[in-house]
């Protein structure tokens, strides 16, 4: 883990390096923006390596991406930071604070806060692949935050590299000067020196008043069982030091600072104080990350700032699903694991629920589907839990005849239709940036997803911003994938919640061998119910293994069956031979078969594999 409770003693060299740098002109706070696989982490590694902070022994590849999961997915989930010292050609030492940013629409808010903590950004573009969709949204976001963005063309060591063409493309598409952009290979280290010099020359030094009341922007926080919450922040004005009483301006939480420090690569390095322009962390015996929300402003309790830094918002879960332990005996383990994850993740929500099919579990809320998948994977890998997850659902507003309004997060809790006056579903305003050749097919996609066309605006000859209002329900499953496949990856997508809209919604139930499976129920737009029901039945037919009897699978709205498939009875499952020498081996085969059954859920007389509950989430587009 990044946060180790033990901080090794500093060498005298390190002490020198980490002496408080009060000269703001020698600080550079920046981030790296790149499309996935264009070399962000490799460049970060090189910067850390070439600024001489780490010895070769300490150098772990991809220092910034701590979690195994991040390395494997090649994405950065949590914003993190590292501070290094660079002796520039002008003879001065500069402090570099490299802030790493997440890269997915689910975490857009976190990205915006990380960017707000920087003064500039390096745009890394692959010399062979050129600009890709993901990059654009973040570049524009950086420009919106008034960051100085300068491009770097990476992977010039590839035989297919075309740095001149890519430089031209950057100028044409993004409109920033790119002809003198450093041409580098982060992999070999070639010309990375030029990037270090460009950071010094092109990224502005921070501004701010060290004597003013404290205003520090929280861009991340994490929970450490030894120190409590470690708050990551950028000081905009004022100074923070141990002993000082601080207040989080949005949540109102107060605490006494125990420690302030910098981000060494792979360790926390305490320091006496942090002042305007600096990036670092503090600990203050805070028990809960709920108190230190991303985007909030830290100020002094005694001499508070007049106003908070702009841009804070409380992030609320947008997507809910049920999470159940595959083995009911692990319910308590799941509870403990969720509790621990929540210590580090203020946007994760959970509460206990029960299902007839799945037993005891939790209804969990997430920022989006990626967030959901990450939590699910962390529960499975870090906490060794086998999970069953139900179809994700948005929050519906159910207006009852008696005037009451229910916020429905679990389809099973939908009141009887006779009690319902009307229902509403959340809509988002979506912006899709796409090259003109794909506009038609993207509009078709939005139309299919019940989108309401708003506008189209050409940002240049070949590119347009397409604006649609879309039901959130339609984009949480696979919209992003569909968008990418229809635009060959050249579409970027961003959205924000717009509000609730009255809609014709019904609850679709799935019956397996004539028994309703509550965990498979979901809310669907009435016009799509038939199609969805049919596809669910088809998918379940493939997922439910043949058993000793025929199993009808039906989709129903109320008492009306709208689709049906049948799983035929098993034909053959027999070991032809079993003599003295085979018995142990054959018994093991049967035991494996029995183990397989344990991963099944019994619904009535039918064994349903756990993955069937999740496979229905991935109904193919066609």
């Amino acid at each position: 883990m990044f946060a180790g409770p033990f901080v090794p003693p500093l060498t005298s060299m390190e002490k020198q390096l980490f002496m408080t740098h009060s000269d703001m002109t020698k600080i550079r706070n920046f981030c790296i923006i790149a499309h996935i696989d264009h070399g962000k982490s490799t460049l970060a590694d090189r910067i850390i390596e070439m600024t001489g902070l780490l010895t070769a022994r300490e150098m772990q590849s991809q220092v910034l991406d701590n979690m195994d999961l991040e390395r494997e997915r090649g994405i950065t989930i949590k914003a993190q930071a590292v501070r290094t010292v660079y002796r520039a050609k002008d003879g001065n030492e500069y402090i570099f604070n490299l802030i790493d940013t997440p890269g997915h629409v689910d975490f857009n808010y976190e990205v915006s806060r990380s960017l707000a903590a920087c003064d500039g950004a390096i745009l890394v573009v692959d010399a062979a692949q050129g600009i890709e969709a993901q990059t654009l949204a973040n570049v524009y976001l950086a420009i919106d935050h008034d960051l100085e963005v300068f491009p770097v063309i990476n992977k010039i060591d590839l035989p297919s590299a075309e740095p001149e063409k890519v430089a031209q493309e950057i100028e044409d598409v993004i409109g920033i000067e790119a002809m003198d952009a450093p041409r580098i290979s982060a992999k070999t280290g070639e010309n990375v020196e030029d990037v270090l010099e460009a950071i010094v020359e092109r990224i502005p030094a921070p501004t701010g008043d060290p004597e003013a009341p404290l205003q520090a922007l929280i861009f991340d926080s994490l929970y450490d069982s030894y120190k409590g919450v470690i708050v990551f922040f950028r000081v905009k004005n004022g100074t923070v030091k141990p002993g000082m009483r601080i207040r989080m301006m949005a949540t109102g939480a107060e605490a006494d600072v125990v420690e302030t420090g910098y981000f060494g690569a792979g360790q926390f390095i305490p320091c006496e104080s942090l002042s305007a322009g600096e990036v670092g962390y503090l600990t203050a015996s805070i028990k809960n990350v709920q108190d230190t929300r991303v985007g909030d402003t830290v100020t002094g309790a005694k001499n508070p700032a007049a106003e908070a830094l702009p841009g804070y918002k409380k992030v609320l879960p947008m997507v809910y699903c049920g999470m159940y332990p595959a083995d009911g005996a692990h319910y308590q383990d799941l509870r403990d694991a969720l509790e621990k994850l929540k210590l580090n993740d203020a946007s994760l929500f959970y509460e206990p629920e029960t299902s007839l099919a799945l037993g005891f579990g939790f209804r969990c809320g997430f920022l989006g589907l990626l967030h959901l998948e990450i939590i699910e994977e962390r529960l499975e890998r870090e906490y060794d839990l086998d999970l069953v997850t139900t179809a994700p659902s948005v929050i519906y507003h159910v207006h009852k005849m008696n005037g009451e309004m229910i916020e429905l997060t679990n389809p099973s809790n939908l009141p009887d239709p006779s009690e319902i006056d009307y229902m509403e579903e959340p809509f988002v305003s979506a912006e899709i940036i796409v090259t003109s050749e794909f506009i038609g097919s993207i509009m078709d996609l939005c139309q299919d997803r019940r989108g309401v066309y708003q506008s189209i605006e050409y940002i240049e000859a070949g590119r347009a911003i397409l604006k649609y209002d879309l039901p959130l329900n339609e984009i949480i499953y696979d919209f992003y994938d569909a968008l990418k496949s229809r635009s060959r990856g050249y579409a970027s997508f961003d959205y924000e919640l717009k509000g609730y809209v009255k809609s014709e919604l019904v609850k679709l139930d799935i019956l397996v061998n004539h028994e309703e499976v509550d965990a498979l129920s979901f809310i669907v737009y009435a016009g799509n119910a038939y199609e969805r029901g049919r596809r669910m039945c088809e998918k379940l037919k493939d997922e439910i293994p043949r058993q000793l009897f025929e199993i009808p699978i039906q989709a129903a709205i109320g008492s009306k069956i709208i689709a049906r498939e049948t799983v035929k009875a098993m034909r053959k499952d027999v070991l032809a031979k079993c003599y003295g020498g085979d018995i142990t081996r054959k018994k093991k085969l049967l035991e494996k078969q029995k183990e397989g059954k344990k991963r099944m859920r019994m619904v009535g007389n039918v064994e349903i594999p756990q993955k069937a509950f999740m496979s229905v989430l991935k109904l193919d587009e066609n």
Binding site: Q547, L548, F549, M570, R571, K572, D573, V574, L575, A576, K577, C578, Y579, G580, G581, I583, T584, K587, L589, L590, E591, Q593, K594, K597
Partner: protein, 391 residues
């Protein structure tokens, strides 16, 4: 349960390895073979006092124990490999060692496996002289093209010659092994072959659906990702063959007494029936398994197995023994006796396995009558799914 035991001897020697075979066997030199038999005889002698355990008739103990050498031998089975390629003097010395150490008498069933093409009149009369009273011939298929695919060294004519020679030598209890579900086989071609075999009036037939075992040349061709997997008969054809086999053999007077075994009344294999009813057995030789009544062990799969650790050595709990009683006993069409279960385990079968019994009676995969529980015809098709519930 009657105190008795069975003896198994493994002769892992073949002229060449067949493409579907995953037994420990192969072609070895004469010197290797000789060393192996020296070891085998030493093992036969060394293990004669192995304690074997039987559910106790008295209430004071759960098991009665007897040294193997004190018990009557119910059956001897020499399997392989190809036992019939082993030179007679080695076999004689080995059988002598057996007879010296264990209580073999003329009523013991004594089977040797033989492959067509390796049987000569002189070998056959030597077997008779040694007391071998049952022959199990591995024909596998009466179709020469199939035999080639399997990598067998014989053709159907060779088999016929061997079979006739065995009859002439006086063998009146002959079993023929067949494999169904071979690549490219259709139910009607299999049925034709089966009729040809039946015309020879064997006392016993074993008909196995082909099992594609890992680590065999067949696995590469016909395994889950094999290039020629589609040549295997599909499930429908496989079951059609199975059901037609049962009907044809029944008409010919051979009844199915186990999932894959058929016999004229009185000619059911005693040795194999012993495996399915929990009779203790000692297995000698490489990869041979033994069951003492309370534990199971298996020799290492190597010619020098005697200097190696056993491959398996498992103590069985009462629950294990109860499960095995069910999963082995249900292989037999007669089924399992509820009274026998109770006398062995002092617990009612339907209490020990109440959920599984009621589920499968309700599903029609099990049936009960005359104090026996047995698989129904559909239960035989899906035996694993039933048995897994008894673990």
């Amino acid at each position: 349960m009657k105190p008795e035991l069975e003896l198994y001897l493994h002769f892992p020697f073949c002229a060449r390895k067949c493409a579907y075979c995953d037994f420990f066997s192969g072609a070895f030199s004469d010197a290797e073979m000789h060393r192996y038999f020296e070891d085998l005889r030493a093992e036969i002698r060394a293990r004669k006092d192995t304690p074997l355990f039987f559910p106790s008739a008295s209430d004071s103990a759960s098991f009665d124990r007897f040294p193997a050498s004190s018990l009557p031998v119910r059956s001897v089975f020499i399997g392989g490999g190809t036992p019939s390629i082993v030179p007679i003097p080695e076999l004689e010395a080995t059988v002598d060692a057996l007879r010296e150490a264990y209580r073999i008498d003329p009523s013991s069933e004594f089977t040797i496996e033989a492959n067509p093409g390796t049987l000569t009149p002189s070998k056959l009369s030597a077997y008779r002289a040694l007391g071998v009273n049952r022959l199990s011939i591995g024909l596998q298929s009466p179709d020469d093209r199939m035999l080639q695919k399997l990598g067998r060294i014989h053709d159907f004519r060779t088999f016929l010659a061997s079979y006739e020679a065995a009859r002439r030598a006086g063998f009146d209890n002959i079993s023929i092994d067949l494999i169904s579900g071979l690549p490219g086989e259709m139910p009607d071609s299999f049925e034709k072959g089966l009729k040809t075999v039946l015309s020879l009036s064997p006392e016993h037939l074993s008909v196995y659906s082909l099992i594609i075992e890992e680590n065999t040349p067949f696995y590469a061709l016909y395994g889950p990702s094999g290039s020629r997997r589609s040549e295997l008969p599909d499930e429908e054809a496989d079951r059609l063959i199975y059901h037609r086999t049962g009907a044809l053999l029944e008409d010919a007077g051979l009844h199915r007494y186990e999932i894959s075994n058929y016999a004229r009344p009185g000619f059911e294999s005693r040795h194999n029936t012993g495996y399915w009813t929990g009779v203790p057995y000692l297995g000698f030789g490489a990869a041979a398994a033994s069951f003492t009544g309370v534990s199971r062990m298996k020799n290492a799969s190597s010619l020098s197995y005697r200097s190696l650790q056993p491959e398996e050595n498992e103590s069985l709990t009462t629950e294990d023994l109860m499960s095995e009683f069910m999963i082995l006993g249900l292989r037999m069409t007669a089924g399992v006796s509820e009274a026998e279960f109770e006398s062995r385990f002092r617990k009612k079968l339907r209490d020990a396995f109440s959920a599984a019994v009621s589920r499968h009676l309700a599903l029609g995969t099990l049936e009960a009558s005359g104090g026996f529980l047995r698989l129904t015809p559909y239960g035989l098709d899906v035996a694993n799914a039933v048995m897994a519930d008894f673990l």
